[in-house]
Symmetry: C2
């Protein structure tokens, strides 16, 4: 399977395909086509076939894709055919909402370590996990071999905490803090900022 030479924008569409296939499978459907997927997703069918062709042959001309097979293959390509252990850093209102959001766990991303620097929170027990001091980051991340962190600290602290996380071996950061992080090229960062989505849509309203 090719890895480094696939454009990042193609990788970004694989989770979209995976979600569509999961929904089709949950609805009891067994076969789909690039046309059906394209119609559902607002993406051209040729684009979908081209994206998938980076990774192999997944369907036959005229017979379409077997949904469960294609879904397994995409999960394997994305490395989400396994469970991942995730650290949650920042346990204010946002961090608590993230912990209680069921979506991560359901899809194999398990928040197993929680950090905050508020003495009132440190030591608290939540869903079988203990909120720990940021001083314990290094020990916990290395002991549990954690590579993914969700960053939910205030904007002013985010860059410094990100630097520490990266030093400790974190390779991927899902950033909820409203700042753009500066990180080395081998570190993945993705941003969750719902307000920016609203701002983008407001442009089209009058």
């Amino acid at each position: 399977m090719a890895t480094n030479d696939v454009p990042d924008i193609v990788i970004g569409r694989l989770p979209i395909y995976l979600r569509a296939l999961t929904l089709l499978q949950e609805a009891g459907q067994e076969i789909t086509s690039s046309h059906e997927l394209g119609d559902r997703l607002g993406i051209g069918s040729a684009q979908i076939r081209k994206d998938l062709s980076h990774f192999g042959e997944f369907g036959k001309q005229g017979t379409g894709y077997e949904i469960s097979y294609l879904r397994e293959q995409i999960a394997k390509i994305l490395h989400v055919d396994r469970d991942w252990t995730v650290a949650l850093v920042g346990f204010g209102d946002l961090g608590q909402a993230i912990l209680h959001y069921g979506g991560f766990h359901r899809q194999g991303f398990h928040i197993e370590a929680i950090f905050d620097n508020d003495p009132e929170k440190i030591g608290q027990q939540i869903e079988g996990k203990t909120v720990r001091s940021l001083d314990n980051l290094a020990k916990v991340i290395s002991a549990q071999n954690i590579r993914i962190a969700i960053l939910a600290v205030p904007a002013g602290a985010a860059q410094e905490v990100a630097n520490t996380l990266i030093e400790m071996g974190i390779k991927a950061i899902l950033n909820y803090a409203p700042i753009t992080l500066s990180v080395p090229g081998n570190i993945q960062v993705q941003y969750v900022d719902p307000v920016m989505h609203l701002q983008r849509m407001a442009y089209y309203l009058e």
Copy 2:
């Protein structure tokens, strides 16, 4: 100011510029350049200048941009120089987390109407607002002239609720339900799905 002829991908970058300018301004800085913005955002400075040139002249060669002016102008272009009233549809765990997330309100998007179809929730008072039955959608959306809705209902209900919202005059939907919505071309939809961000990053981990 041009509107229809600006590529959507350019519009998508304006909130990113707006956020960077806001952070610079909060840090007390008065002047910036496309180079500084580009370095902070990982976007080429030529791209930034080209994006902004769709809307006019905002800086002088060699002297850079006045941050407060450029920020005001981008806010005006995006129509976020005003307050927007927003409906929140779905008041389960996710809807409650969304209501309590301060970011929307702070940036001028005010959740003023809350809907759910659970009889135990209908009538509940939260932060001065009443959770209403979905049967009241039409009346409330029209009375308050609401154009933006945040959709936080289960996947199975999302398309039907979206159809109703659109019939009632909603023009922009921020969708937290894990499905791709099918909507008319004049309706804006943006998706918030943090799991897809994690899946995308997992590709790069081994």
